[in-house]
Symmetry: C2
Subunit: 386 residues, 2 copies
């Protein structure tokens, strides 16, 4: 087995549809030791082989279970063959836990300088030096095979938002064909594969995409093409619509989502895995998530504030430093600012998921969600930035 999922608890919504759930995902692992992931789970993003500012030791310490690596970035720098020679991405970056790699699909469309898609693949220019490269479904598999991740994502076409329904349909059909082609490429024994549902904001396309992709022998399924510019309401509606189209007995992954409330809605919809650069990127920009609401640490009101960032947080940042110090570090552009902020934001996200998981297991998820929104409302009426 490459991947096994044990469902510990599933909650149904008012219409009897199975939704929020807690599961244990077991991965074979490349070193003869299996990994276990407790879901719902948030996966910190380690774009270039590091979760920006963090050591893998710290990630473990704050409860990160699985991290994400970016195929597009690692292909360009330092190169997947180099990483393979050095023992794979986990060994390269010193992470002895499970790893998921994306397919590079999203990045070639969103990051590269120019890109030209045909039925066979995508030709693009590197965002670093403008050099020309070409990704195909086969190459994406080869790269991820070299990286040695535990979960490999199918190569998909993610059309921009907004665009025409025709273009969304073409991309969705292409994604299906690319999924089949990718499946022909052998991976390492331990590597599981996830297919990706596309179809934009069109329910009828999502239905077709889900039906076709779930007919293929993938170990799990992702919902792609969301959180790319549409409103949060539309994103949530589509996640809610699509999740039940995916099989109960395999992991579900909502790609690139999102804000804390988006994670809550994702879990409500029945999603198991999430990733997003928001906690790490916002941390570097001084945007911090706390149990009392969102805080912009550069705000002058914190200049003399001796209190911790979040009184309810047990991370080193909150246990040891004041808002005044964090503001000072941010204003001065000190490296420690990015570190301490990232440590906190990731702790916040990981705790949020942990709380949701426990409340599902203890059959009090609805109350937890109600309380989450009550707190949010109180924060807004109390004038806390959010």
């Amino acid at each position: 087995m490459r991947l096994k999922m044990q469902i510990e608890k599933t909650l149904s919504d008012s219409q009897g549809i199975p939704r929020a759930r807690a599961t244990r995902v077991t991965l074979q692992g490349s070193q003869g030791v299996a990994y276990e992931i407790l879901t719902p789970v948030f996966m910190p993003v380690g774009t270039l082989g590091s979760v920006k500012g963090m050591t893998t030791h710290e990630l473990k310490k704050i409860g990160a279970q699985v991290i994400l690596g970016n195929t597009y970035h690692l292909y360009l720098r330092p190169g997947h063959l180099r990483i393979e020679k050095l023992g794979g991405l986990q060994r390269f970056m010193g992470w002895d836990g499970p790893l998921l790699t994306d397919s590079g699909g999203f990045q070639v469309f969103s990051l590269s300088k120019l890109n030209k898609t045909d039925d066979d693949g995508v030709t693009f220019q590197s965002h670093i030096d403008g050099s020309t490269h070409r990704f195909t479904p086969e190459l994406s598999m080869e790269i991820q095979k070299s990286l040695g991740s535990d979960i490999v994502m199918a190569f998909d076409e993610c059309p921009p938002y907004p665009t025409t329904p025709e273009k969304v349909q073409t991309a969705m059909q292409r994604t299906l064909k690319w999924a089949s082609r990718g499946l022909e490429v052998p991976l390492q024994d331990h590597q599981a594969r996830f297919g990706i549902v596309q179809g934009g904001l069109y329910e009828e396309l999502r239905v077709v995409s889900a039906r076709e992709i779930t007919a293929l022998p993938f170990d799990g399924f992702a919902i792609g093409g969301l959180s790319i510019g549409e409103t949060p309401e539309l994103m949530r509606k589509m996640a809610h619509f699509t999740a039940p189209l995916l099989p109960q007995d395999k992991p579900r992954y909502l790609m690139g989502v999102g804000r804390p409330e988006d994670l809550v809605e994702g879990v409500r919809a029945g999603i198991d895995l999430f990733d997003c650069v928001m906690p790490t990127r916002n941390a570097r920009n001084g945007q911090l998530f706390t149990s009392l609401g969102k805080i912009n640490i550069k705000n002058a009101r914190y200049a003399d504030d001796p209190s911790p960032l979040d009184p309810d947080c047990s991370c080193e940042t909150c246990q040891k430093y004041s808002k005044a110090y964090l503001r000072h570090l941010f204003i001065c552009g000190e490296i420690l600012s990015a570190r301490l902020n990232t440590l906190h934001n990731l702790t916040f996200y990981l705790n949020l998921m942990h709380q949701m998981r426990n409340s599902i297991l203890e059959n009090r998820f609805d109350d937890w969600v109600k309380n989450f929104y009550t707190q949010k409302k109180n924060q807004m009426s109390a004038g806390i930035e959010s």
Copy 2:
């Protein structure tokens, strides 16, 4: 007692002059708990209230005993009165060990956009926003009192290099007068004060400066005005000349020095305390100190190198990561690069001091120095960058 020094061992040179020594410096501490510093010691520089990229927890872990804060920088941002209100610099930055603050003298001359010195003080423009400020010996004491450091440095004038003997003499005389004026300003009970010997590269001026400054009731003495552009040979010669002019029974501090071999020569001369931005700044620039010589980690030769940075180093960077990974992080400008490099370089510096201290205590310092230079010579003939 604010400061007490116990000499554990002193070695004499071939002319019978007492030189290299190992001591225990006890500081009263502001929290009712005394601090002990084992010398010779290197003090990492925490310019703006953080040793760039490092947490104070990490600094403790790698054996940092005392760190340095910069009066000029902290006066400008976030302001000394703000830090005072927040409980002093140590509390502000979460460092529960001894702290030394410089006087701001060196920075107003080297960093500020414009500066104008008269007998009373220095008027200067901030390097950040061009705003006009004025430091006097009295204000420097007031600022350091607010910061609450354990060792306060006298406000000195450090003339640029090269300059005329007249200007060096004027600055030296002014430094003496400013030292006396500073002594009139009461500090916190626990704060010790160090005077600074100036006089550039002129032995006769150093003699006068040392004689006059050591006649004042300081708790320790620093050699200033070196490592500002003169050759390493001249710097060492002057440190060697000046050290024996300072009292045996008080700590001696060579300011802003330097490279590993400069620390070795400083200890040989009889110096106890050192500080320099070199290990931290070089780390951020990818210049790493190892037991096999200096390494520029961006060099292409390390792109596929699976070996640790320094096989003889026990720091997390060397225990966990390869040169290939460190090069990759540096090339990509990842924050983790600055962290891991700084962790290593500081470990290297702290270990170097630790080794020297032990070899003094065990009466084998001369052999240790001989071995240090033999290794250095071998590295150079083996073509290792240095």
